[in-house]
Structures are given as structure tokens and as C-alpha cells.
């Protein structure tokens, strides 16, 4: 029975059998790290392949060959790609993203501020949109096929069909220009008080909520509806539970996995995908920071932003997977 190799495999197997959940989480974690590493190569290689380089782009038409050569030498751009990649990755792992080529400021420090701003906006949008979406989803299941369900559906479909910049412009036009009730632009700065900050981000938050609401709401609705058609829901109904109670107590927990997934995806979008919203509302977040850097090929900044965006995405997806596994024990034992 026992071969020389089985002794090595067995402890692993045993660990897996004894702590299936922990093993799964660890596995996801390691996979995420590998994925992040692969992304870092892609980011670095992709930027390397872009046409135009920092020295010429930054100086534009005022560039003289002398100034271009000075900058290239100064930044060590004459060294091989692999050397620069390894050096960059080594520092990035320690949280040091170097200094911006254009402004000579520490990238980590800048990102600290910008990421804070982005998370503030995204967090606020999430705080409003997630409960609202899940709640509306349940309401629309409860009233399915009737007027409230239809109204919720029409409005959310309309919101999802409009691009976010358009929603943003509409909100600006009505609330800032026509009625003059909202603050615009949504520029926040360090010395700003919390109340002013909240006022400033009202419009971009509303835009983001409208953009992600429909997606989460419709997913919640669909997931609960699919559970509703299963046999145990019929049992719940037969044993006389109220409709709302059966949705909240029996259907919703079983529909959690897909809901968590779509929520995580939308949270990631709120952090990573708000570039357009940040530009429209003149909000100094990560998106705007990265756009500025790409324009002048400020590589350390672009690389850092890319890596952080990737990390946010991977982390939230991992979290969604893990939560889904916790919520649904059946997923712990893949067939």
C-alpha cells in the first residue's frame, strides 16, 4: 500500500481532509499571489511596449536632444529591461514604488493620499448602494410581476443603459447648474473638513450608486428567484410561512453566493473603474492620478497604479470566493 512517495503526499492530503476550508482559503491566497506576480510582468512589459517614451513625451515640442539624453541617463533608462523590472519588483514588494519621474515626489506617499480619496468615495458609494440594492432586490422579488417590481426594473435598467459620464453630466446639469443645490467641482483637499468633504462628494457618490445599483439589484433578484423555484421553498410556503419571511430566512441565505460575487465585482469596480467619474467631477483620486501619469509616460506611477488596481481586484475576488464557500458548504468539496 505505502510507496516511498505516499508519505510525502499524505500530510498534505490529511491537512486538506481535516481542514478543508482553511486549505481552500490558503490555496486561493497562493493563487492570488501568483496571479499578482503575473500581472506585474504584464504591466511592466506592456508599458515597455508602448510607443513613445517619457523623455520625449514629457518635454514635448520643447525637447532638445540634449535634454532628452539628460533625462534618459538620469532615470537609468539605458539599462536592460530585466534589471529594471527586478529592481522595481523588489522595491514594490517592500511598499516602495520609487519616485515619480515627472514631479520627483514619492509615489507611495502620493498614492497614499489618492487611494485614500478613492476609497472614501468608493466606500461611501458602497455603503449606500449595497444595502439599497439587496433590499430593492428582495422587494422586487416579493412583488414580482406587479407594479413595484416593474418600476424598480425599469428605473434600474435605464440607469444601467446610460454611461456613467452621462449620468454624471445630467446630475451636474440639474443639481449644480440649474438648481444650484450641490457642490461642484467635487475637488477635495487635505485641509478640508469632514462635512465639506461629504457635501463635495454628494454628486459623484450619487452617480456611482446609480451605475452599480442596477447590476447588484438584478443579480439579487435573479438569484433569489432561482432559489424560490426549488422544492424546499415550496415546503416553506406549504408550512404557512409569510412570503417575506420565507424570502429573508430561507431563500436569501441560499442565494448568497452569487450575490456576494456580484457585490464584490461591483466594489472592485467602484475602486478601479471610477476613472471617468473622477475626471468628470474633478475628484483627485487614483483614476485621475493614473490618467495624468499615462499621458506623460510617468512609468513608476503607472506601474504602481496598475499593480494596486490589480491587487484590489484580485483581493476582492478572492474575498468573494472565500465568502461564497463559507456561505455554501457544498462548495467546500469540489467533485
Amino acid at each position: 500500500m505505502s510507496s516511498p512517495t505516499s508519505g510525502n503526499i499524505l500530510p498534505g492530503l490529511r491537512f486538506r481532509q481535516r481542514f478543508p476550508l482553511l486549505a481552500l482559503i490558503l490555496e486561493r491566497f497562493v493563487l492570488s499571489i501568483i496571479l499578482l506576480f503575473a500581472v506585474s510582468i504584464l504591466i511592466f512589459g506592456g508599458l515597455e511596449a508602448l510607443p513613445g517614451d517619457f523623455a520625449t513625451t514629457y518635454l514635448g515640442q520643447s525637447a532638445t536632444p540634449q535634454a532628452v539624453a539628460n533625462i534618459r541617463k538620469d532615470l537609468g533608462l539605458d539599462r536592460p529591461v530585466t534589471t529594471r523590472y527586478i529592481e522595481w519588483l523588489g522595491n514594490a514588494v517592500q511598499g516602495d514604488f520609487g519616485t515619480s519621474w515627472a514631479s520627483k515626489n514619492s509615489v507611495s506617499e502620493q498614492i497614499g493620499k489618492r487611494l485614500g480619496n478613492s476609497l472614501f468615495l468608493a466606500g461611501f458609494a458602497a455603503l449606500i448602494s449595497v444595502p439599497l440594492a439587496v433590499g430593492l432586490g428582495m422587494v422586487s422579488v416579493h412583488f414580482r410581476g406587479r407594479l413595484p417590481d416593474k418600476i424598480i426594473n425599469i428605473i434600474s435598467l435605464a440607469a444601467i443603459s446610460l454611461p456613467e459620464f452621462f449620468i454624471g453630466y445630467l446630475l451636474i446639469m440639474f443639481f449644480a447648474v440649474k438648481f444650484g443645490v450641490a457642490t461642484f467641482p467635487a475637488t477635495v483637499y487635505e485641509s478640508m473638513g469632514f462635512a465639506d468633504r461629504l457635501k463635495a462628494i454628494a454628486l459623484p457618490t450619487a452617480t456611482l450608486v446609480l451605475v452599480v445599483l442596477a447590476h447588484m439589484m438584478r443579480m439579487t433578484r435573479a438569484a433569489i428567484l432561482s432559489v424560490m423555484s426549488s422544492a424546499y421553498m415550496e415546503t416553506a410556503e406549504l408550512k404557512g410561512l409569510s412570503a417575506f419571511r420565507s424570502i429573508v430566512k430561507h431563500a436569501a441565505p441560499n442565494a448568497l453566493a452569487p450575490i456576494i460575487n456580484v457585490v464584490a465585482l461591483n466594489l472592485a469596480y467602484l475602486v478601479v473603474g471610477v476613472v471617468v467619474v473622477e475626471v468628470v467631477f474633478v475628484y483627485p483620486g487614483m483614476g485621475q492620478y493614473m490618467v495624468d501619469a499615462v499621458t506623460v509616460r510617468d512609468m513608476p506611477v503607472v506601474q504602481a497604479c496598475g499593480l494596486i488596481f490589480a491587487a484590489v481586484y484580485i483581493f476582492l475576488n478572492m474575498l468573494a470566493d472565500i465568502l461564497a464557500i463559507i456561505a455554501n458548504p457544498r462548495l467546500r468539496h469540489p467533485r
Partner: protein
């Protein structure tokens, strides 16, 4: 009242001209003493500059990558920020473009214009309380002319051989005569800093009317009034806030909702919509920037002057100005100089759209088949539309143009200055000499039309060291004719700088030097309550 006296009156209104100065200049411009006197009293009373208030600007062009080091100023945002806190040695007159004193009180060239002596103003204080000395001036210029410098002014100052102090004076020795030396010192990178900014280039300490109080790159810059300013004819508002707004719609929304007082870069496509807002004023200033179609004079088929002429006659300039610039611009005449330059050669016949002449030259050139034109949206706003319009106007002359739309990313590296026929944009330069030296001198790095003519180069060098203005004007005329009739540039239009403000903003100076009142907008306007 002509433009010049109107301008003089506005300077009186802004507090920039004394009665004596005004009367002198107005009478020189042809007004009688009585009329001039009345005008002075009226304009002095009409809009006495108001002091105080908080001015908010929403500007395009800021980026998180902006540096506070004047040597690295690049964006429109930093251009304006630098003008608020810093001073140069020389400024340019908003209306004539001539050099006028700033931190340099006066200057004197040697006979061959190769040595220049600048007298530095006394009693000027930096924001940190330190007095401005000749050493600060020398250190500043040395920092910007260092060969290892990354300064944006490095190219402009290339001909300076030696910088030294002589008592209280600055002495510049050039490798060749240059009659325009004072104007070169108006470059916005050349902010005079304590010890030339060598100690801390990012400190933003200068002699300007405002002190920088807060700065977040690409987001926001705030200023408070410098109480010790050495000039009284500027800096009317108490504090300034400049907000970076790169989205055109955001700028328009911010202005029409009254959240900012002034915005730059109004899109010609939407300017007519903005005009309808009741509290908004469009500020359009004639500029030196121009949109070009460039042909390489040394590559077939463009090495044939008849073909180049055919393509020039086939350009409908009026339609271009109307459709692409929304009327906010002037027609060009196939050379890169317009009347905003000092010593502009007047009286050169305007080239107009002439399909017959175009067809004649086209036939004479012996070329057949289509001509490939590369373009992109980044070449200039409306670049692709302009190429298609041109294609239409060429069709009437029997010339077939094939328009190829190139990706915006990499356009400046892969297409402009590489491909033989493309669209592009040139910002203006402070002097004719610089414009020609940058793009038309045989040895120029950016000679994007491959215009290589030894006789032209000779004229350029001759004009550079010529101190007699009328002789210089003649030389510039000859050069303009050469570029116009034999060069590789089709220059349909000069674009105006189109900005906008709320009606509260008064005293705006339409400066021909550059956009946003040559960057001085925040220091020149005041707010009407």
C-alpha cells in the same frame, strides 16, 4: 478709438498707467490733448480697480505629475501658477509684444548685439524677506543654462556663452549677436528664485504678487497676497485658488454655475452654447499658435514646388477658420508669423482658395494619383475634420487626397516629423527669430517640413544680430516670402485663445504673448462685487 488707445484706457483703468504716461502715449497715437485728457478721466473713473475678494480659476492642463520646479513647468496649469508667485527679468508688452522692464530695470546691447547688460532693480524682496541681489539672478540663469539641466528654457538660452555679474548689473555674452535677447528672458521657466533655486527648486519663493500657500499637483493651488509686492499695478484680489479641471464639460459647468470665475480652453464646438449663459463672457484673444499641414520638401512627391503650390492653393482657409475654429481664429498665409509678432512684415498678399491655380500647378507638377495625408485628433482639435474638409476642397481642383487617420497615442513619435505629409500644431514663440530657428532653420531639430535653404539660414542669422528695426523688418519679409512660396508648410489658420469668465471679472488684458493673458490672468483682473 482704436485698439491701442482702448488698450491704454484699460491700462489706466487697471491702474497701470499714470496720467503723464497715458497722455504721452495717447497723443503719440494721434489723439489731441483735450480728447486724451477726457479719455483718461473717464477711464480712470469708469472702472476703478477694486481690491479684495477670492478669485477662483478652473484650468485645463494640470496633472498629478506637475513639478513645482520652474525649470520643469510644462502644463498650462503650472504656467499660470508660476506667473502668480514669480517674476522674470523681462516681460512683454501685452499689446505690442515688445520687451518691457520687470526685475531688470533697463538693458543695453553692444553694437553687435552679442553682449547685453541688464540693470537689476533694487529694493525688491523675495517672499521670505530676503532682498533680491545680482547673485540670485546669475544663479538662476546658470541653473537654466547648465548643459545637464532639464530646464524647458535650455533650448531658448542655448546661445548664452557667459553669465556674470558686473557691479549691480547682469552681463550676458552670447556666441552670436541676438537682437531679441531681452524677449528670450520673458520665458516662463525663468522665474528668478533666491540663489537661483539651487537650494530648494521646489520652494516656490519668488518676488511675485502672490505667495503660494497650498499646492497639490494637478488638483489645486492656493495663494495669498504678497503684502511687500514691489509693484502696485497688479495683484488686486486678496487670494487666488486655481483648480485643475481637465474635462471640458466640467469647466463649463463650473463656470456657468458660478463656482469658478474663469476657465481656459473653451472648445470652439461648444462656445456658442456657453455664450447663452447669462453671466458668462467669452474672452477670445488673437494668438500665435497655428495649425499646419506639413509636407517634407525633400521627399517625393513633395520635393516638387509646383505640387506644393498646388496643395497650398487648394486650401480653403476661410472655411477652415469658420468650421474648425468656430470663427475664433484668423486665416494664415503659409508662413508661421502673424501680426501679433513685433516686426511683422505687413503687406504680403493673402493667399486665397483658388481651384484653377491649384489645378494649373498640379498639372505642371506632372504628379498623378492620390496624395496620402496622415492625421489624428491629437494633431490639433478637429484635426481629422480639417483633413476631410481639405480633401473636399482639393477635389474641386482635381487633386485626390487620401486621408489616413492615425492613432493618437504615439502620433508625435511615429507620424509627425517622420511621415512626409501630416497635420500638426505649433504654439507660438516670443520672437520671429525663435519661430524660424525652431522649425525652419536647416539644422533645426524640429524642421518638420525639411526646409533646407542656405540662403534662408543666412538671412535668419543676419536678422538675428541686426539692431536696426527697419532693416530687420525687410529681412523678415524676405524670409516670410521664401517660406510662403517655396516652403513645405500649408498654414490655413492661427487659432485664437478662447477662454471665458463670469461678468464679475474685470480688467482682463488680451495679451498677444500667450494664452490666459500670457499666464498673468490672476494677477491682472479684479472682482466686481
Amino acid at each position: 478709438m482704436n485698439d491701442y488707445t482702448k488698450y491704454l484706457a484699460s491700462r489706466v483703468t487697471a491702474g497701470g498707467l499714470s496720467r503723464r504716461e497715458f497722455l504721452g502715449r495717447a497723443m503719440a497715437a494721434g489723439l489731441t490733448l483735450a480728447v486724451a485728457d477726457k479719455l483718461f478721466t473717464e477711464s480712470a473713473r469708469a472702472a476703478e480697480p477694486k481690491r479684495g475678494g477670492h478669485l477662483k480659476l478652473g484650468l485645463e492642463g494640470g496633472a498629478a505629475t506637475d513639478s513645482k520646479d520652474p525649470a520643469k513647468f510644462l502644463s498650462q496649469f503650472m504656467f499660470c501658477v508660476g506667473r502668480c508667485w514669480g517674476d522674470m527679468l523681462v516681460e512683454s508688452d501685452p499689446l505690442t509684444g515688445a520687451a518691457v522692464p520687470a526685475l531688470a530695470e533697463s538693458w543695453e546691447p553692444s553694437k553687435d548685439a552679442a553682449t547685453w547688460t541688464f540693470k537689476i532693480r533694487k529694493g525688491v524682496k523675495f517672499h521670505n524677506g530676503k532682498e533680491l541681489t545680482i547673485d540670485d539672478v546669475v544663479a538662476t540663469l546658470k541653473r537654466h543654462t547648465d548643459k545637464a539641466s532639464e530646464s524647458g528654457a535650455l533650448g531658448v538660452l542655448g546661445s548664452i556663452k557667459e553669465i556674470k555679474a558686473d557691479g549691480g548689473n547682469l552681463v550676458l555674452t552670447l556666441s552670436e549677436g541676438n537682437a531679441d535677447m531681452p524677449l528670450l528672458l520673458t520665458d516662463y521657466h525663468l522665474v528668478i528664485q533666491p540663489n537661483g533655486g539651487n537650494d530648494d527648486p521646489l520652494a516656490s519663493i519668488g518676488t511675485g504678487p502672490y505667495k503660494l500657500t497650498n499646492f497639490e499637483a494637478g488638483v489645486r493651488a492656493t495663494f495669498e497676497k504678497n503684502k511687500d509686492d514691489w509693484r502696485t499695478d497688479r495683484g488686486y484680489v486678496d487670494s487666488i485658488e486655481i483648480i485643475g479641471m481637465n474635462d471640458a464639460t466640467a469647466r463649463i459647468a463650473a463656470l456657468s454655475s458660478g463656482q469658478v470665475h474663469y476657465i481656459n480652453r473653451v472648445d470652439p464646438k461648444t462656445v456658442n452654447l456657453l455664450k447663452r449663459a447669462p453671466n458668462v463672457e467669452i474672452l477670445s484673444t488673437a494668438g500665435r499658435g497655428h495649425y499646419v499641414f506639413i509636407m517634407h520638401c525633400d521627399k517625393a512627391p513633395f520635393d516638387n514646388n509646383d505640387l506644393r503650390l498646388a496643395l497650398k492653393y487648394a486650401m480653403d482657409r476661410e472655411t477652415m477658420v469658420e468650421k474648425i475654429l468656430g470663427g475664433y481664429g484668423k486665416v494664415g498665409n503659409d508662413f508661421p508669423i502673424n501680426s501679433t509678432y513685433a516686426l511683422f512684415p505687413e503687406g504680403i498678399e493673402q493667399r486665397v482658395y483658388d481651384p484653377d491655380k491649384a489645378a494649373f500647378h498640379y498639372k505642371k507638377s506632372g504628379h498623378s494619383g492620390s496624395v496620402l495625408l496622415r492625421t489624428s485628433e491629437v494633431a490639433f482639435p478637429g484635426g481629422v475634420d480639417a483633413a476631410v474638409l481639405y480633401q473636399e476642397s482639393c477635389k474641386k481642383a482635381g487633386i485626390e487626397i487620401e486621408v489616413k487617420r492615425e492613432p493618437g497615442d504615439g502620433y508625435w513619435t511615429n507620424v509627425w516629423n517622420v511621415q512626409p505629409f501630416s497635420t500638426s500644431y505649433w504654439g507660438g514663440r516670443p520672437t520671429q527669430d525663435q519661430m524660424y530657428s525652431t522649425a525652419y532653420l536647416s539644422t533645426a531639430d524640429w524642421n518638420d517640413t525639411r526646409f533646407k535653404r542656405p540662403d534662408f539660414d543666412k538671412l535668419l542669422l543676419q536678422a538675428r544680430s541686426e539692431l536696426d528695426e527697419s532693416k530687420r523688418k525687410e529681412l523678415y519679409r524676405a524670409m516670410a516670402m521664401m517660406v510662403r512660396d517655396e516652403g513645405g508648410v500649408i498654414l490655413p489658420m492661427f487659432n485664437d485663445f478662447v477662454n471665458a469668465s463670469t461678468k464679475q471679472v474685470k480688467g482682463y488684458v488680451h495679451d498677444i504673448g500667450n494664452d490666459m493673458s500670457n499666464g498673468y490672468v490672476a494677477t491682472r483682473v479684479w472682482l466686481e462685487a
